[in-house]
């Protein structure tokens, strides 16, 4: 028996607007104080009316363009109706039959276990992305004393973009990779902070199996929608559990009669999925156009303008770092996954003359170490990327050794505590510490001559057939000539000693 896993995701991401989607309330609520970011509109008070936040629409369009979706020239708002205490209007304002965008595509690495090869790609089609308002939160008494539940509407009315994929995913791993990629994309686009702990990015997974029996028969298990998965790990775990459960439940059935879709939840504590409601209880949302809002028409010019606001997608960057900059796919991914400011920092270093591989190494090791020590992000790194680029450029043109470069960077970080650091600071440090590679051979030769004169014993040993004796001479020369290239020094010392040898003979 073989089987195919069929998974599609519905991803909800809160958009990073200053105000809510249909009112002027701030979205930067403090979770500790309930209902402080509310007004008649998001409280759903009698008589209040929604007005679309243009910025929310723009961010949603940018998200959709990032997903390579088409933008509809005409879109409207529909009410999705159901009763729940966190939904003060008794309906959610969403988009039903005319979403603002459709037909997109996201590429992720295919799961080798399914694809049968390394480095294959999985194309995941996006059916649509639409815009809607978020609900509030029900706060239940967890003390067990059975107090009333309460409702916090701070979150009610936060703009959400819902991204619906085709069921193109073939394993739990791929589901996770897609959500990770979408998160990365939304972060790069700057449309959502995708904070999963705060529920700003969450998803539902639709899963079923196509089971191929040895008899040649194929059966399809009923689709299960697992709701509200708010971490990558939970998504992957829930999918794995569900695949296993469906296999156990239906694996040996040659006929599956009940094909109704079911709604499940995931219990992270027990790592299991559980049924929430079946079709019989399923809500009829009675969608209809919201008469309080006017449809939105979008011109080609507007779309063209919004296109210009879509930055290079992480996937495209990853590819460019590999093909044009020569990074390994792994290194490229490591940088990309650190987020856009990190990747931008990397590009800035390279733009100022650093070798891309060297820059990648520095970023992911030296600079990352400093960031870890200082517990800060790349945005707070005290040395500008230009300066880091300048240091590495000096390494490339062999005017600094890598060791000296590290020292220079550390000193720059140190000095940044007191002053803002610049190229002048760097020059000063190099000079003060004598970090520059001494390229003046005559100066070196002078030093070597002095060292040879002061150290007759090692010289004699060397000339007497002990090449290792040159080491102590070399060390002394390096101490004298700070910043000299050891290879150059070694050559000159050897040459000077050999000259003595010939002179002697």
């Amino acid at each position: 028996m073989k089987f195919d896993v069929i998974i599609g995701l519905e991803v909800h991401a809160q958009l990073q607007t200053n105000t809510k989607i249909f009112c002027g309330c701030a979205t930067d609520f403090t979770p500790d104080s309930p209902n402080v970011r509310t007004c008649p509109v998001c409280l759903g008070l009698p008589g209040a009316l929604p007005v679309l936040n243009q910025r929310a629409f723009e961010l949603a369009v940018i998200a959709a363009l990032g997903l390579r979706c088409q933008i509809a020239p005409f879109t409207k708002w529909d009410r999705k109706q159901y009763f729940y205490p966190d939904l003060p209007k008794g309906y959610q304002i969403s988009q039903y039959d005319l979403p603002f965008s459709f037909s997109g595509l996201v590429e992720i690495p295919a799961d080798p276990a399914v694809a049968g090869e390394e480095n294959a790609l999985r194309q995941v089609r996006i059916i649509r992305a639409h815009l809607e308002d978020d609900a509030g939160k029900n706060v239940h008494d967890e003390s067990g004393r059975g107090s009333d539940s309460q409702v916090d509407l701070n979150r009610a009315g936060t703009p959400l973009v819902e991204i619906v994929t085709e069921p193109d995913l073939r394993s739990a791993r791929e589901a996770r990779l897609l959500l990770e990629e979408i998160r990365l994309l939304l972060l790069y686009l700057g449309v959502s902070d995708c904070n999963m702990q705060e529920g700003n990015l969450r998803c539902d997974a639709n899963i079923n199996l196509h089971i191929h029996h040895d008899s040649g028969l194929t059966t399809k298990t009923p689709i299960v929608e697992i709701k509200n998965l708010n971490s990558f790990r939970f998504l992957e775990q829930a999918c794995e559990y569900e695949i296993d459960r469906q296999l156990k439940t239906y694996g040996t059935m040659t006929e599956i009669h009940d094909r109704t879709k079911r709604t499940y939840g995931f219990d992270p504590a027990r790592g299991i999925t559980f049924e929430q409601r079946s079709k019989e209880e399923a809500a009829d949302y009675r969608y209809f156009p919201d008469p309080d809002l006017v449809p939105v028409t979008v011109t080609r010019e507007q779309v063209a303008h919004w296109e210009t606001l879509v930055p290079e997608r992480p996937q495209d960057r990853r590819r460019r770092y590999h093909s044009a900059m020569g990074l390994t796919p792994y290194d490229a991914s490591v940088i990309i996954e650190q987020g856009r400011p990190f990747a931008d920092f990397f590009e800035n270093i390279v733009a100022h003359g650093a070798d891309p591989k060297q820059a990648a190494n520095w970023l992911t090791q030296d600079i990352q170490r400093i960031l870890n020590e200082r517990k800060c992000g790349i945005n707070e790194f005290p040395v500008p990327a230009e300066l880091v680029g300048l240091i590495l450029a000096k390494v490339s043109e062999k005017s600094l050794t890598l060791k000296a470069a590290r020292e220079a960077l550390d000193l720059l970080v140190e000095r940044s505590e007191e002053q803002s650091v610049s190229a002048a600071t760097l020059d000063q440090i190099i000079q003060e510490r004598g970090l520059a590679i001494v390229q003046d051979d005559s100066l070196l030769k002078e030093i070597i001559q002095k060292v040879i004169e002061k150290n007759p014993k090692p010289v004699a040993d060397y000339l007497g057939g002990k090449p290792a004796a040159a080491g102590s001479l070399l060390g002394q020369v390096m101490r004298e000539a700070r910043g000299a290239d050891p290879q150059v020094v070694k050559g000159l010392v050897t040459a000077a000693l050999d000259a003595l040898k010939f002179a002697d003979s």
Binding site: L45, L49, G90, R286
Partner: protein, 501 residues
């Protein structure tokens, strides 16, 4: 040009014979009267008459008196705000005012106090108008008689056994009974024009989008507008002038310049072409109403208007279309009354579902429940295409009818209601007959065009009958001038309801 003065000095009128907004404004301007006196007269009238009329659900005299004092001080300082400064009005209890109740005539919102004001109210306050109290209505503006109010019946000042119409029952009755010179109502299918007609006052439903709906508790969002009641056309024009205009809080309010409704109000329109839809004069129209409406139309002809027969072929579907669209929207708009966040919550519940069911079951009246069920059905999976979507298609045809008709005429004239005021209790068990009382008014809401009811005459038994004028979108200036043409020639404008004397 001033209104013909009433010759009937009336004790019930508190000595204020000239009680129209225009006359009050003139007296205020001449300093013959203070706003305080207006409020005091209103309060006296309410205390002496409203026990019989039942127009008010709540009166806030102290607040009004304070506002009157401020108005009088402005005027004394030469800083009067305009024709409404110091004039008092009643407000339909579905239009929110900060700190005031907004029961919507429902048990559901008993005790609810609005924390914010409707844009229309804000604008009237900015014009110096003084809200005095909250006017009774059919529950959530669903009804045509006041009988669906959870609190009280409102009686027609012309015959206390009869309905004042609805749903803006208290608004119309409070003006007709000279308790206030003007009022705000809302019109979803005729809820301003029908009671205006039955009470013998002016009532205007503006173009959809002309007045902000922000703060009007929604019944059927795509149909309704806030609009004015007044004893005189001038008052309606002044109230509309203050309220009209784009509101950033209402996405359906239209950003279209607001005409000056007052400066040319008294100038008769020349070369007027008045369309007469045959559909409005057919079966079901009371003969006295027909006679009075035809006489009013004759007034226009005598002033040089051309009468043009027109057709509104889809008007016969108006009521059916309306009773799909309006309940569908209502079923959604009223979902927020769930017993969770505000308003009535049943004391009896065992779980979330019974909390919803019991709260809604106990607090909504039968007509509201009927419409929620109709609308829920019409929007349900498998039925939406047959009902809701179909109704939207017919709605477009009805709109097209008006577009076609207005190629041939400037205004459409006809009756407001098929009969004069019916007796309270007469139709209460026959919702369909009640629905048909809106047969001539509903189309304007479906089409979004403005329409006015202006007093046209009285039946032999002394019941008022209005003339309805409808015009293309955003032509309220023309509509008001046309209404004024009738008003100016009418000998009965100062006629007082017998219950006042």
């Amino acid at each position: 040009m001033t209104l013909p003065a009433s010759s009937t000095a009336c004790a019930g009128n508190n000595g204020l014979d000239h009680w129209s907004i225009r006359e009050l404004g003139q007296q205020l301007a001449k300093r013959e009267l203070t706003s305080r006196e207006i409020i005091e007269s209103s309060l006296t009238a309410i205390s002496s008459r409203d026990s019989r009329i039942g127009a008010f659900l709540h009166v806030d005299g102290d607040r009004a008196l304070a506002a009157a004092q401020a108005s009088d001080e402005r005027r004394a300082a030469g800083q009067a705000l305009g024709p409404l400064d110091g004039i008092t009005i009643s407000i339909k209890d579905a239009i929110c005012e900060v700190g005031q109740p907004a029961t919507c005539g429902s048990r559901m919102l008993k005790g609810y106090i609005s924390p914010y004001s409707a844009t229309a109210i804000e604008r009237l306050l900015a014009a110096g108008a003084i809200p005095l109290g909250r006017a009774n209505l059919d529950e959530f503006a669903m009804g045509s008689s006041s009988e669906n109010s959870a609190y009280q019946l409102t009686h027609n000042p012309w015959d206390l056994d009869r309905t004042p119409g609805g749903s803006s029952s208290g608004s119309a009755a409070s003006v007709a009974a000279r308790m206030v010179p003007g009022s705000l109502g809302s019109d979803t299918g005729g809820s301003i024009r029908q009671p205006a007609s039955l009470c013998g006052v002016v009532g205007l439903k503006p173009t959809y989008g002309r007045v902000s709906r922000y703060g009007l508790v929604a019944f059927a969002s795509s149909l309704e507008q806030i609009g004015p009641f007044s004893l005189d056309v001038y008052g309606a024009a002044a109230l509309l002038q203050a309220m009209a205009g784009h509101d950033p809080h209402d996405a359906t309010s239209v950003n279209e310049p607001v005409d000056d409704y007052l400066s040319k109000l008294d100038e008769p329109l020349k070369d007027l072409r008045i369309g007469l839809p045959q559909e409005y004069f057919g079966e079901g129209l009371d003969s006295e109403v027909r006679r009075i409406v035809e006489q009013a139309i004759e007034v226009y002809r005598s002033q040089g208007a051309t009468l043009v027969p027109i057709e509104l072929p889809h008007s016969k579907y108006s009521v059916a279309t309306y009773y799909i669209v309006a309940p569908s929207e209502a079923s959604s708009n009223l979902a927020r009354f769930d017993g969770i966040h505000y308003g009535y919550r049943s004391p009896e519940f065992t779980d979330l579902e019974s909390l919803y069911a019991n709260s809604r079951g106990e607090a909504f009246g039968p007509e509201v429940k009927r419409r929620i069920m109709l609308g829920t059905y019409a929007l349900s999976a498998g039925y939406a295409d047959k009902y809701y979507v179909k109704a939207l298609q017919i709605r477009r045809l009805i709109r097209q009818d008006f577009d076609d008709a207005f190629q041939k005429c400037d205004l459409i004239a006809g009756p407001v209601t098929p009969t004069p005021a019916f007796k309270l209790g007469e139709l209460v068990d026959d919702p369909l007959a009640m629905y048909l009382s809106d047969i001539y008014t509903i189309a304007a809401n479906l089409a979004g065009i403005p329409a006015i009811s202006v007093p046209a005459g009285w039946t032999a038994s002394g019941l008022p009958v209005g003339l309805q004028l409808q015009s293309p979108v955003f032509t309220e200036a023309k509509l008001l001038r046309a209404a004024r043409m009738l008003e100016i020639t009418s000998p009965w404008i100062g006629r007082l309801p017998p219950t006042l004397s």
